[in-house]
Point group: C2
Chain length 295, copies 2
Amino acid sequence: MLVGFLASADPAAKVYAEWTGKTCVENGFAFSLRVVDRELLEDAILQANNDDSVSGIIVYYPIFNNRQDQYLQQIVSIDKDVEGLSHRYIFNMYQNIRFLDPHNTKKSILPCTPLAVIKILEYLRIYNTILPYGNRLHGRTITVINRSEVVGRPLAALLANDGATVYSVDIADVQEFTRGAGLRKRRHEVVEKPGWTLENCLPLSDVVISGVPGDKYKVPLELMREGAACINFSSERNFSPEVKEKASIYVPAIGKVTIAVLLRNLLRLAQNKIDAAAHGVDDKSSAEPVIPSTA
Amino acid sequence: MLVGFLASADPAAKVYAEWTGKTCVENGFAFSLRVVDRELLEDAILQANNDDSVSGIIVYYPIFNNRQDQYLQQIVSIDKDVEGLSHRYIFNMYQNIRFLDPHNTKKSILPCTPLAVIKILEYLRIYNTILPYGNRLHGRTITVINRSEVVGRPLAALLANDGATVYSVDIADVQEFTRGAGLRKRRHEVVEKPGWTLENCLPLSDVVISGVPGDKYKVPLELMREGAACINFSSERNFSPEVKEKASIYVPAIGKVTIAVLLRNLLRLAQNKIDAAAHGVDDKSSAEPVIPSTA
């Protein structure tokens, strides 16, 4: 069973919760939405961590809309974290470490939204399956507009870890994520590109991925290469309608794929549990201690 | 050896690094300040994690001044985290769990700045040593103005876990942290106080602790009880000079105590290592996997 915790007053969180429920029902997954007071959420998550009938946990943010939300993200057991937000998972993602254990039986979970973009790029054959697994973006140049810790930066790292040259663009500056010439490195490195702007990045890019919040921003289409693939992960439309005349492929929204990826992660966690049991690997991958019951 | 990583352009970070060095030298601790490019900091920390000559690590923030800084805080090995910023430590603090292991041999580290305030309150005998350990603030009412994840909220939780009634005040609202009537609970609980402001909290408070950034804010002294103890942890002066006429005790700054606490945590980590070895406890308390060397 997937459990969703709704302790947010944000209408978008409520809509996301409803969508999750709908997608679960359509695909035969059990889903339980639990509406809880935000001051009781930490204990409710800990209880779900220790409840064997719960296979996965999703928490709808924002809740406190400050760093307390990041604290809560770390409360979810790593064995039930379908969103892939545990530090251990994020660390493995940046470090390009694909398994949780030295026996390579338990796959590390990737964060949902960046993974949704990856899955879309695989589907669109921008990942080239002729190339070896792990290097399938070798030769691609990709601009990612947004460098948030939630989507933009992890996405740039994932794409570079798979071999792409990535220009990560935010208001302040441009950074280049690569694995070095000839994919020398095991994982990406980052260099600043002083003075660079979209004027430098877009003409070089096969793929343009944008996730700028707010309804004002539009990607300057005139700078883009003819036939670029364009993906929007903002809740607003970052590409104006004329994008269809210039892009080879245009993906206006990724929400449905993100929920599918959430369910994929749920299956992955279940599979990890089965594989670990079959291989006799200690199932306690979580760093969290057992919590004594409250007095 | 304590290692400090300076990858921040913030002058205050540089000053804090210099103070740490000075305090270490005065007290016979080895200290090595390493100035690194922020893009190379993650690898530098990982290397120090694996270096047996390094006993403790401190990183001077802000660096990216966004959520990437919180990611970096989780990179430091739990066995070397003198600042007490690892999620495991923060989690134990909120949950009032005082040891890392079920054998109670390894003490959990507390975050430096909130712990500095606790140590000041102990020194000032606001902690009553007649009362049992763990309940020594029973009967005290304390207002904490600031509810950041770094200082204000952990401090309110620590004080309530030790038995105080705490009013946690920020711009938006007031929350009451307690362990319930008669210290019923093992750890604190939080309730919102709708409509409350400092006008309600200050007249009830034996102790007033303030950490509002910016030079504009002043605690309204006219609302305070005669003889209250006042502690300022802002880098600015949150109490106007007249506080000396009304307060029984006034502590204008806590920086030096914070660095002393940092060294105390360093000794604690060293002691944990010795105790764990003596008790034959597995020393691997960290959840981080061993990192393969880069290609």
